[in-house]
Amino acid sequence: MSKYSVPETLAVSDSGFLFLPNTGETFTLNLVGKEILNLLQDGLSEEEIVKHMLDRYDIDERSLEKDLSDFIMQLRKYSIIKEE
């Protein structure tokens, strides 16, 4: 069960614009990306996110799992989240 910590100060705007206050870097997320980051902020684990998203989106579990792990890898690479 991988969980990730997201800084509380982190705020993604409605448009998907993300500003990292500690480094000054800025990013753009698409809607799904933004939703996933918000779920991580709410403390959901990877598995819980998959479950949550499957419920809401028209996508199969395996594809979602692959996309999610790729996305989380990128978030970690940019030091936006850390593994707990």
């Binding site: 993300l18 870097e25 800025t26 990013f27 753009t28 997320l29 698409n30 809607l31 799904v32 990306g33 939703e35 996933i36 809401r56 989106y57 028209d58 996508i59 594809s63 979602l64 692959k66 996309d67 999610l68 790729d70 996305f71 890898m73 990128q74 978030l75 690479k77 940019y78 936006i80």
Partner: protein, 452 residues
């Protein structure tokens, strides 16, 4: 009651870099290419597999008719000769021949292919630096127009025609400085240093060689129309000297090919469609150069064009399927598709137009496209902005009609089906996918190696 689920798009995060903060990226997403000539891409793959080469009969005919009209509007006698090396699939050549195109061949194999398709010898132009004596003999016998490339060949022809007292119809290929880079001086006789004139005199002094034309081919993917005017006027000057000194008029001036297509070169910043001159401009330049000819209007020689790329590039498509998605070490996205550089040789110099064949998300990501070969060079595109593609989804690579089906090779994978969408909307197989039997047909195993 089931709740309606939202449309899913792969999660994407893009970092902003200074100097690259343009959300349109370096390529905008155009509408998906779901059909080719009205036939759904999915249907084509379903019937003929993936990858799949697709040609449009309608587009080829349109290209040829349009080119003829453009040149005919500017010059009274125009003849096209289909450049076999650009695409010598029988079906493709046949469309051009039905459109009254002659054949332009550069090897014995191509010569045989044209004769086999029923092209008359007198409607074949034989170019190239390496024709071979048996091919020359065949060409002489069939009345093929032989374009001489060098003095050794000229003397071969004198010898061959004298030994069996045949007449040969010949032209010389002339190379020249037309102000474009790089200068092509490896084919034919040079204009500026007088070599061309020397060759002409030698031909005219031999009783079995009949000088029927003058030929030049200034380069490939030429973007300057002016270069063709210079080339045409230099050939016209040669024709003038021939008339003055020998009172002979040539039947035709062959301006070769080399017009750029709308495919963008890797080294080009702007898209080709913006910087490449239209055929009209090439035609204007050639006609204005030719009007310097010393002939009366009714005596003007025929203008022959060996246009290849510009007549076929946009009639060919390659459909390919996404095999896998990958994240490279530096964070860049990569997709692996089922068509490699062995099928798409032109990806070494073109930035092809590549479009997903189905609706996809609006966000694009800098993507590298790799082919399926287990070889490092198998990269179809270093960098292109593409939306997220799922496994099994299709892409359509456009402008693949020229050179790909002649330079492709069997390498690691066999070559796939080629189909032609006919004018009536039917789809015909024009080259079958290769099989192991086909590939090994020419192979032999020495007896010693047969025991196991």
């Amino acid at each position: 009651m089931d709740k309606v689920k939202k449309r899913y798009e792969r999660p994407i995060i893009t970092k902003h870099y200074s100097g690259l903060m343009n959300k349109f990226g370096s390529k905008s997403i155009s509408a998906p290419k779901t059909t080719i000539e009205g036939i759904p891409v999915e249907y084509l793959v379903d019937q003929f597999g993936s990858p799949l080469y697709v040609f449009s009969e309608k587009q080829i005919r349109e290209n040829q008719r349009n080119a003829y009209r453009i040149f005919r509007n500017r010059y009274p006698k125009v003849q096209f000769a289909w450049s076999y090396k650009t695409n010598y699939l029988d079906a493709v050549c046949s469309v051009f021949h039905q459109e009254n195109s002659w054949a332009e061949v550069v090897s014995e194999f191509e010569l045989d292919k044209a004769l086999r398709l029923g092209v008359l010898g007198s409607n074949i132009i034989f170019n190239g630096p390496s024709k071979g004596k048996t091919a020359l003999q065949k060409a002489i016998a069939q009345g093929v127009k032989i374009h001489i490339d060098h003095f050794d060949e000229l003397y071969d022809l004198i010898e061959l025609t004298e030994s069996n007292n045949h007449k040969a119809k010949v032209a010389i290929r002339v190379n020249m400085d037309v102000g474009v880079y790089p200068k092509w001086d490896r084919f034919g006789f040079n204009y500026e240093n007088g070599e061309a004139w020397h060759a002409i005199r030698r031909i005219l002094s031999s009783k079995n060689l009949q000088l029927v034309g003058l030929h030049t081919h200034i380069g490939t993917y030429i973007m300057s129309a002016e270069a063709y005017r210079i080339a045409a006027s230099k050939l016209a000057a040669l024709a003038r000297s021939i008339k003055q000194e020998f009172d002979i008029m040539v039947d035709y001036i062959d301006m070769g090919g080399g017009f750029a297509s709308n495919n963008t070169l890797i080294s080009q910043y702007l898209p080709a469609e913006e910087v490449v001159p239209g055929l009209e401009q090439f035609a204007d330049s050639i006609a204005s150069g030719l009007f310097e000819l010393p002939y009366k209007a009714e005596e003007l020689p025929m203008l022959i064009l060996e246009t290849g790329r510009a007549l076929i590039d946009n009639a060919g498509y390659l459909i390919s399927t996404v095999i896998a998605n990958k994240r490279l070490a530096d964070g860049r996205r990569a997709v692996i598709i089922d068509a490699g550089v062995n099928l798409l040789f032109t990806s070494f110099w073109y930035k092809h137009k590549i479009t997903p064949a189905q609706e996809s998300g609006l966000h694009t990501e800098d993507t590298t496209i790799f082919g399926p070969l287990c070889m490092n060079i198998d990269c179809i595109r270093e960098s292109i902005m593409l939306p997220a593609l799922k496994r099994g989804e299709r892409i359509v690579i456009e402008y693949t009609g020229a050179y790909d089906n002649t330079q492709w090779m069997q390498f690691i994978n066999l070559r796939p089906n080629v189909v032609m969408i006919m004018e009536d909307g039917s789809v015909e197989l024009i080259r079958k996918a290769e099989t192991l039997e086909y590939l090994t047909e020419c192979e032999l195993i020495p007896d010693k190696l047969k025991t196991r």
